[in-house]
Amino acid sequence: MALLEVRNLEVSFGLRSGAVKALRNINFTLDRGERLGLVGESGAGKSVLGFSILNLIAKPGRITGGEILFEGQNLARMSARELRTIRGNRISMIFQDPMMTLNPVLTIGQQMVECLLAHRKISRENAKTIAIQKLKQVQIPSPETRIDQYPHELSGGMRQRVVIAIGLLMDPDIIIADEPTTALDVTIQAEIMELMVELCERNNVALILITHDLGVVSQVTQKAIVMYAGRVIEQGPTREIINDAQHPYTQGLMNALPQMAIPGQRLNQIRGSMPTLQKIPTGCAFNPRCDYVMDVCKHQLPGYTRSGNCQVACHMVAEMKRDEVSSEEV
């Protein structure tokens, strides 16, 4: 049994203008110690997916269909009390902006100890000892003094280390990291990412990495999911997706990497922008921006086609696969 299995997940936001589906038909599995990348432009639904795994979507959003099976238990149907035993304990989250994630009026120690006390029956002193240990693990110098400081006394990189330490506090099975390095200086980004991956590896923690940086995904993850307008459009082993992207959108993302551009020339970009959830085009949501658009793309939602070890939702890929099969038959 997979550690985490998401089946047909659907998330909707009840807006005044009617319900809008933010996520549709999401399926994936995650094994113990495995690292998964969630990729896509802003508005693709990566963060919503990350939050919905912990059933933490802000109102007016809610899970309207499907299952999130964590060790066989469905998180989508759990009571608040049961969810509390999972959140921060078995599955923890690391947020994007360390400047905003820590409560400004509580000390680092308070924010760590409260998490330990919420999940374990231990004394305050023991909790503090564990907290100091974790701060050491994320390489914070002199954790004994840092623990009594307030977030504003720490730099951005230090704060993100604290957030990672809080994420690791209970030795969770899964960490969901929502763009954990986006808000940091470029020089610190690599350092923090390396630290996080190393700690996950050492403790056999599965990582769900939400990012729009394909470079990071290719270095860090074994599996990748590419999302567009609330739907998975391509998923499979990271290596296959990076080396041989099938979906035109994934290809576009790859081409948009600065490394792919000729020096001195404009960067390649995908024309147009992500549709808003109220105005998702019929058929394939990507069709207005796609270079290879066909008639069928405009009115029929593409199903998933197998390509190597990947699943791709694209009519063109499906057609090519059909041609391959028929040519083999001849």
Binding site: L54, L56, A58, A80, L83, R84, T85, I86, R87, G88, N89, S92, M93, F95, Q96, D97, M100, T101, L102, N103, P104, V105, L106, T107, E114, C115, A118, H119, Y150, H152, V163, I166
Partner: protein
């Protein structure tokens, strides 16, 4: 800490200086104090002589200089009506006013925090909507109307509450006349406190609600949920502590404003406090008393704001009272 106090003291001196100029300038424009002091029978020549003796004919700056010199020695002039030092007359009425403000503050604090927090957490519930509706009504009705309404219902129609005065009071050893230790005094305090609180309470409920709703949207509250904390801890520690920071600041200013509002409440309830005295002083053109009132109220403003800043510094770790980096 010492640096903070020195800074506050310097600010306080500037504020009190400005208040003294304004209140002293008012003296010149409040009619002729002699009319109140002496009868019709006194001749014009005698009046002139009296003016000279009182220094009323000196240039403005000379008069102001004399006023400041005396004020620094605690002498704000002699009340024309009571024939007693104006400051003593005012300070004798200070306990009544402060107890009224205390009663109103108590009502505001004990009601606004739970109501504001509840309606921020459950904005859609019928109870929150009712509270919000009543708060609009509360803000819209003037204090004197609320006061008259309270007297009509609870004193005249139902006969539950006394309608005027402080009731039975006790003199504390340090010269503080209090109504807080007798049942009768407390009963007299209820209606005036409620009416004084009626304006500020809705304001605070709405302020706390708005701040709390904003804080509940913040990343650190989301992170607290993701840590698997109990909702009680998230609402009443993580969110409330951040909510109270701006509320404390506004609250400090409002306590000062409330002292000013007591003029209306004290008049309607015949509450023997500073505000009531102030209105009487205006009617009698008792200028030293008016000036003394303005200066005492100004001092209360400065003191409450200093205390509030101190509390704010204690609650908010990003404020450094010591002034060092």
């Amino acid at each position: 800490m010492i640096a903070f106090f020195i800074k506050r003291l310097a600010q306080a001196i500037v504020v009190m200086f400005v208040i003294s100029i304004i209140s002293f300038s008012i003296q010149d424009n409040l009619g002729d104090p002699l009319r109140e002091m002496v009868g019709q029978s006194v001749s014009e020549a005698e009046r002139q002589q009296l003016r000279d003796e009182l220094g009323l004919n000196d240039p403005f700056l000379v008069q102001y200089g004399r006023f400041v010199k005396n004020a620094l020695q605690g002498d704000l002039g002699t009340s024309y009506f009571f024939k007693e030092p104006a400051l003593d007359v005012i300070l004798a009425k200070l306990p009544a006013t402060l107890e009224l403000v205390f009663g109103a503050s108590l009502i505001i604090i004990t009601l606004s925090v739970p109501l504001g927090v509840y309606s921020a957490i459950n904005p859609q519930s019928w109870f929150s909507k009712t509270v919000m509706g009543f708060s609009i009504v509360g803000i819209s009705i003037p204090v004197f109307l609320t006061a008259i309404g309270l007297i009509y219902f609870f004193s005249i129609e139902l006969g539950w509450m006394p309608s005027y005065g402080r009731g039975e009071t006790v003199m504390l050893p340090w010269g503080w006349e209090t109504g807080l230790f007798t049942a009768d005094g407390l009963a007299h305090l209820v209606l005036p406190s409620v009416s004084l609180a009626s304006i500020m309470l809705p304001l605070f409920i709405r302020l706390i609600r708005a701040e709390m709703m904003e804080v509940l949207q913040s990343e650190y509250v989301k992170f607290a949920w993701a840590k698997g904390l109990h909702s009680r801890r998230i609402y009443f520690l993580h969110a409330l502590k951040n909510t109270m920071l701006p509320v404390i600041t506004v609250g400090g200013v409002q306590i000062g404003t409330m002292v000013a509002y007591t003029i209306l409440t004290e008049t309607v309830f015949q509450w023997p406090g500073m505000g009531f005295l102030f209105l009487e002083a205006i009617n009698r053109v008792d200028t030293p008393l008016i000036v003394a009132y303005l200066i005492v109220v100004g001092a209360i403003f400065v003191i409450t704001n200093t205390i509030v800043d101190l509390i704010y510094g204690l609650v908010n770790p990003t404020v450094n009272l010591a002034g060092k980096k």
